[in-house]
Assembly symmetry: C2
DNA sequence: GTATCTGCAAATTTTTTGCCAGTAG
DNA sequence: CTACTGGCAAAAAATTTGCAGATAC
């Protein structure tokens, strides 16, 4: 049998190597936890959970590992902006596009179609939807790196 | 003439009073700045800008004013979560619904329709879209307050 | 007049960083 | 071996809070 008993580990190793990063026990533990949960943990949540399996790990390492995984496309960071919240005086239905490079935010005119919103609402079983927010990510005019392709989704 | 020369100010006063809040110079200055800009400033950005007109204002007051405006529906806070970033091990196209009350995040199956995404892309003039993120907000099963209506959008 | 708000400074919370020792390749 | 990592502790950044004096109504 050529099947790897831990295919997840192989995928991690492969993705890390593709990005010039090393495979370590800490990164594996963080990755394993993220892969097995659907609670969308904070960095601290990850730390508390991973610490059970790897008592010596530090919170700083968890932060570093998470950023490494995000950099390799193995995880997604659910937060607008880099750190600080941003405020918008417009309260009418409109959305945003955020530049990956300079974090500038620009307004996007218009809204989703009615049907699209209803379809989303239907999929949110057991959830009473009061609103939604949509944000495109990409490169603004000023930050577009010369000749890079546009992948499907962040 | 019954027309107010500063209709914006009137709207602010009205919204504040509707929420049992007082009209203050600081809140007016923050509101005025937010209404006139499209840069989606951070709290600190607002502070730096408003300080020019109101040299005595403090950053803490700006934070408080911003939250007041958000509470009155006069501004929107662009940030996921309460504070901390959350991480997700799933990187395939899917979206999220976040509970306003307990900040829990649940996955939403499926994606937007192809046409819808293309329409968004078209509206983002001068922006190279590499991805997007959609988040519903509302109340999860456990946090639904007894009999509250569902407004159009957060 | 009085409840609410501001400003200040200190406290909290979240995230990042520097540095030395440890480890993957 | 040697460069990349992890752990620790300290720093930085973002946000919140307590309280006394100021202010809206």
């Amino acid at each position: 049998m050529t099947m790897n008993p831990a295919p997840r580990e192989g995928r991690l190793r492969q993705a890390l190597e593709a990005n010039g990063q090393r495979f370590t026990e800490q990164r594996a533990a963080v990755f394993r936890y993220l892969s097995h949960t659907d609670v969308h943990p904070t960095a601290d949540d990850v730390f508390l959970a991973v610490r059970l399996a790897l008592p010596g790990i530090s919170l700083a390492t968890v932060y570093k590992s998470l950023e490494t995984l995000v950099g390799c496309g193995l995880a997604v960071k659910l937060s607008y902006a880099d750190a600080a919240a941003r405020y918008d005086g417009r309260t009418d239905p409109h959305h945003h596009a955020r530049c990956i490079a300079c974090s500038r935010v620009v307004d996007l005119p218009g809204d989703l179609s009615r049907g699209e919103v209803d379809a989303l609402r239907d999929r949110a079983t057991g959830f009473t939807v009061t609103g939604y927010r949509l944000e495109l990510s990409g490169y603004c005019r000023d930050c577009l790196p010369a000749g890079s392709p546009a992948p499907a989704r962040a």
